[in-house]
Symmetry: C2
Subunit: 386 residues, 2 copies
């Protein structure tokens, strides 16, 4: 998956890196190299430790820079602008403004409903009418490779009389795609469902680490909080929307038809294949094309009440799960609440143990007939605080 | 309530203002004047449009500046540093990092439980074990005086087969107190319940505008989203914790005793009296001293899983409601879901109409034997977008 061919001229994802001894700046990934845009394009907007200023310049500028890079990279790139990808350090690519996490996979929402509320209908009555979502903690979004300290908190099993305090015993992942807003909107305005590409700069892989025992006890009636807020990891490379043109597909189908503000003329289903590896072993292949709600619908919904959007807003799809067991993007689903362990490197496993590493990667069809890569989002679990 | 005596030397709240023709800078309110700290103290930390840099300097610096101001303001203040409060424009006093809203009034949580879930126990089983809270939208926190456009969204009454789209018909307020983090914490660390005053700079009044019909339809299972995210208003003056020393009281009592991480040696109940006026008429007097959970417990809980805190984090109490009807801090409670209208300027009213203005103000005992003021948070409802 670190195949250089996944980072050809039809991909060109943006990130923030520092070369050995240098300060963070904006670069683009090309093959096995990171191209320093502050050198190649000699523009101060790229000499900053965030994509924010560039993203805020808007779609016509994004298009122009992509055309420029396509031309320049096809020729000779000055050595001063080139760094082997293994020699640089990657950073969080932008300052996260608000972070919203949706719940857009019907398979995931149904599975979680069955596991969290076994005595009720798995899907809530609102689920097929609106993309359900909630705000997460922007300040704990971290870049791939950041260790995740096992969170402590209150846990109460149904058969226990009172909660106890301690490390989570049901630490899980959620394999997701995150979308990054470049151009925001004013308070009182809306972003229409067909204005998606004017506002969204690109996409990242996202792992919404989840402490299921903390979550199950705390989440009524105001939703998840400490079960999620300890860490959310994203991949360092933001794949521009323009690179995803060949991945655009119709949604699987929405019934009932959503309200008019959620109906668009354009297809924003995305044919992206994810891969989840647990300690180096493949455990799942979540298919993004199975998602019920599109990212364009998520953004339209999020702003239909007049809420403003800002550069750096991050909104995520929720766990990507397909209809098959091997397509589930969270371990609570894959192991059915821990009752059906999976085999990882010869051991039976349910939830995450200290020292475990999770790697999520993804590819999609590129516009040149091959495939493009998202890189990866990884994290290793560290022992809890005493 | 704009009585100059509420802003004596025992108060000295901080804000960001611009004088006529000038840029935003940090000031302190003293009587009927705003004192320009960038002039009086000649320190660049006050020549910025946010309290952030000053707040990040930490508690010993906050103490030193307060002592300095107490001395200087008792003498002659140079005219160049003084502006009549009516001549300046107030701004959002800091950049909001993450915004978390709690639900810490037992009276409010019980009332809302009865109204939203009439067939269940009003309080969820977790409510007396942890301060329930959730993340709200930081990007739509606005300063007092900002108009609030009536939000549109999906609404479905229980007797309707499907949701419809349109302006909220049940637009409401929540009278709250907000706490502002000055000194954050690292990812993986915790803020202990007795470390509150090392981290929290001060408090503001907060109105968490709420569209009850949007909220009721959307909030299962992930909590409130569009019903709240369109606007949250705060007062422009941040009252420093040091000014609230005389307001500190024991909590009303917690049973069962909370887990050890929520038990503190210090009292952080606060004897603050709020006043809610609807189109100029008093409709409620919420008493903050009735709150079940303290702000110190909220912060300890919020970080016990290792979530980091940042300068500018804002966390709020949730609606402040006392045991009496006239002490309820939300109109849905005051009018019992709209079934028991209140009289406002001779008219029967339930939820907010376009053109309505709400004003929330508050006072507390000061350290000199009198009272100190929080100023006010106001907002006027504007007609929805077409």
């Amino acid at each position: 998956m670190t195949d250089a061919s996944l980072f050809g001229l039809d991909n060109l994802p943006y990130g923030v890196f520092s070369p050995a001894g240098g300060t963070p700046r904006v670069g683009v990934r090309y093959g096995d190299s990171v191209v320093d845009l502050s050198v190649l394009l000699d523009d101060p907007v790229f000499a900053t430790p965030s994509l924010g200023a560039f993203m805020a310049q808007g779609r016509s500028r994004w298009t122009r820079v992509r055309e420029q890079l396509t031309d320049l990279l096809a020729g000779d790139v000055p050595d001063a602008a080139l760094h082997p990808v293994g020699d640089v350090r990657m950073h969080l690519p932008f300052e996260v403004a608000d972070y919203v996490d949706f719940y857009a996979s019907e398979h995931h929402a149904s599975n979680l409903g069955r596991l969290f509320r076994p005595d009720s209908e798995p899907l809530m009555p609102n689920w097929k009418h609106l993309p359900v979502g909630y705000h997460g903690r922007a300040g704990t979004v971290v870049v791939s490779g950041t260790d995740v300290v096992r969170p402590c908190g209150q846990r109460k099993a149904p058969d226990e009389a009172a909660p106890t305090f301690g490390p989570s015993r049901r630490l899980d992942i959620e394999a997701e795609l995150g979308f990054v807003v470049g151009v925001g909107s004013q308070l009182g305005d809306r972003i229409g469902v067909d204005e998606f590409a004017e506002h969204v700069f690109g996409a990242v892989l996202l792992n919404d680490w989840s402490a299921r025992d903390l979550q199950a006890w705390e989440y009524v009636p105001l939703g998840p909080h400490l079960g999620k807020s300890f860490a959310t990891s994203i991949s360092p490379w933001v794949v521009p929307l323009a690179a995803l043109e060949a991945a655009r597909v119709p949604l699987p189908g929405q019934d009932p038809q959503p309200l008019p503000y959620l109906r668009g003329r354009e297809d924003w289903g995305l044919d992206i294949d994810l891969l989840v590896e647990w300690n180096g072993e493949e455990v799942s292949r979540p298919p993004y094309r199975e998602m019920y709600w599109s990212a364009a619908q998520m953004l339209a919904h999020m702003t239909v009440n007049g809420a403003s959007a800002r550069v750096g807003d991050l909104f995520a799809s929720g766990t990507i799960s397909g209809p098959e067991k091997h397509q589930r993007g969270a371990f609570i689903e894959l192991t059915w609440g821990g009752r059906e362990p999976v085999t990882v490197k010869g051991e039976e496993r349910t939830f995450l143990q200290d020292g475990d590493e999770v790697r999520i990667s993804a590819t999609a069809p590129g516009t040149s007939g091959g495939r493009i890569g998202f890189g990866e989002v990884t994290g290793t679990i560290r022992a809890p605080m005493p």
